[in-house]
């Protein structure tokens, strides 16, 4: 917690100066609202934000879910088939240079203004970081483990189950974290093209009618949602990878060596302290 104190203090100072500056220079609300005015707008129209937040969140979740499934399939296929890898990998890298926002209007032309074009855009944007990370995880596997499973005559499905998937989980989650932060933003952008409910359309409407404090409040809500989603992924990661809560462990093991503690006793105490 200590290391965040300075950055929190800096942020508060920034907000304070902003507030003072707006008051002192008498800046109009529609040009730059003060932090208090933004907060006021947020609390005043709570229901409005909740109303527009729900579809955005739903689209983001759905898109993220679809992209996860696609990414797992494609990454596995790339690992299992060299031919598929040779065909698809250059396009995966190339596709990273396309700004996906520009295809939102196209998707709208093809699929209308409903849920489908939005979910497709989010899924496309989220697909790449997960796929590339997961594949990097597959490539990083210690070859000795593969030899071990070979010596046991394990088939490909067993290798995936026992080795590829669990050992790539940390990579998968770092990809998922990036994707999670993209998902809300993509949902907002996809809503710009056209919808009647969603944070994206709220943002556009507010800015077109010069309700600038609400624009800022909406941005605040979007940021908050993205952070929430990333935290959710981090929690999932922590639960799914109980074997790599590494920093604490490393410190502890040095402590063990120094004090010559026998392992079972030590870990009995350690596990207790971990769960209480």
């Amino acid at each position: 917690m200590k290391k965040y104190i300075t950055s929190v203090a800096f942020f508060l100072l920034f907000v304070f100066i902003w507030q003072i500056a707006v008051n002192f220079l008498k800046i109009e609300k529609w040009i730059l609202p003060s932090p208090l005015q933004i907060l006021n707008s947020l609390l005043e129209s709570k229901e409005l934000f909740v109303y527009h937040l729900l579809p955005t969140l739903f689209e983001a979740f759905l898109g993220l879910f679809i992209s996860v499934i696609l990414a797992i399939i494609v990454a596995l296929a790339m690992k299992l088939s060299r031919l598929f890898y040779n065909i698809i990998y250059p396009f995966l890298i190339l596709s990273q240079t396309i700004p996906f926002i520009v295809i939102a209007p196209l998707l709208s032309v093809w699929f209308g203004f409903g849920l489908i074009p939005k979910v497709i855009l989010i899924a496309i944007v989220c697909f790449f970081p997960i796929t590339l990370n997961l594949f990097a995880g597959f490539e990083a596997i210690d070859h000795s483990f593969i030899s071990l499973l070979d010596s046991m005559g394990a088939n490909k499905i067993k290798k995936i189950k026992f080795l590829y998937w669990p050992s790539s989980l940390p990579y998968f989650f770092s990809g998922l974290k990036i994707a999670a932060s993209y998902s809300i933003i993509s949902a907002v952008v996809s809503e710009w093209v056209g919808t009647d409910r969603g944070l994206g359309i709220l943002l556009i409407r507010s800015s077109k009618s010069y309700v600038t404090d609400r624009v800022f409040a909406t941005i605040l809500v979007i940021t908050f949602l993205s952070i929430l989603l990333v935290l959710l992924v981090e929690t999932l990661q922590y639960i799914s990878i109980p074997w790599s809560q590494n920093n604490k462990i490393l410190k502890r093991s040095k402590y063990v060596k120094k004090n010559n503690i026998s392992y079972p006793d030590f870990y009995r105490n350690f596990n207790r302290s971990l769960f209480l």
Partner: protein, 252 residues
């Protein structure tokens, strides 16, 4: 009857301009319930030989049989323990041992039962729920040994099994291995570059030359069992040690 028979096996790896001959016409027999050691300079091809017997690598010529069945048939796979414990970090000790059964498509419940009773039989049941990072080096090696036994209790290949363990823990592990060997009537082929380890464990010791590996000498170790470390200072053992050193000198 020979459990494992390696006859005139050769193996070479292709390099840029010519092929590198790693194993040259090696023949090794291991009888049922026998412990055979292979000793030789490091990099002489011991691990390659084990990779061949466990079907990780193909071989060029010769014939390998396990229980008189050709290695190419499905029955040929043996329990192979690598130099490192190679416990899967995401599995607890129990699950690591269950893996050996699950690879052979034994249902999960039965695999769990088998693994638990194996841990109990060899005094490690209190470690069943530890992740590898929570275990000491010696304990990891013990679990890896049990995993290997769980996979195949007929023929074990141990590749420098205790090479990365400190000398004091290593002796415990030697006794542990011999205890398992006796209880389960194992047949063991192991490599080492520790002369005393070879004498303490083995019934016979094959000395291999530098690359390409050939058999230089075969030495019988006629020491009483159960073996104790003190036997290494007896006249018999010292004579064997001298002969081993002589043979190893010729390999240089």
């Amino acid at each position: 009857m020979n459990r494992l028979s390696v006859k005139n096996v050769s193996k070479s790896f292709p390099t840029l301009d010519k092929s590198l001959n790693v194993i040259d016409n090696i023949s090794i027999d291991v009888a049922e319930n026998e412990i055979v050691g292979i000793i030789g300079p490091s990099g002489c091809g011991k691990t390659t030989l084990f990779n061949i017997i466990s079907k990780v690598l193909p071989y060029d010529s010769g014939k390998i049989t396990i229980d008189s069945k050709d290695l190419d048939s499905k029955h040929g796979i043996c329990g192979y323990m690598f130099q490192e414990p190679l416990l899967f970090p995401w599995m607890k000790a129990l699950q690591n041992i269950m893996l050996s059964y699950e690879v052979k498509s034994i249902p999960k419940e039965k695999a769990k039962g088998n693994a638990i009773s194996l841990l109990e039989d060899f005094g490690l049941s209190q470690f069943a729920n530890y992740y590898p990072y929570q275990l000491s080096g010696g304990m990891k090696q013990r679990i890896a040994l049990l995993r290997t036994v769980a996979f195949n209790s007929k023929l074990l290949l141990l590749d420098e099994p205790f090479g990365s363990i400190d000398a004091i823990t290593r002796l415990d592990l030697h006794y542990y291995l011999l205890e398992i060997w006796k209880k389960l009537n194992l047949t063991i082929l192991f490599t080492t570059h520790d002369i005393r380890e070879a004498i303490l464990l083995a019934d016979r010791i094959y000395v291999l030359s530098k690359q390409p590996a050939t058999v230089v000498d075969i030495i019988k170790v006629e020491l009483d069992r159960p073996r104790k470390i003190e036997q290494l200072t007896t006249k018999k053992a010292v004579a064997i040690e001298k002969r081993l050193i002589q043979s190893l000198k010729h390999t240089q």
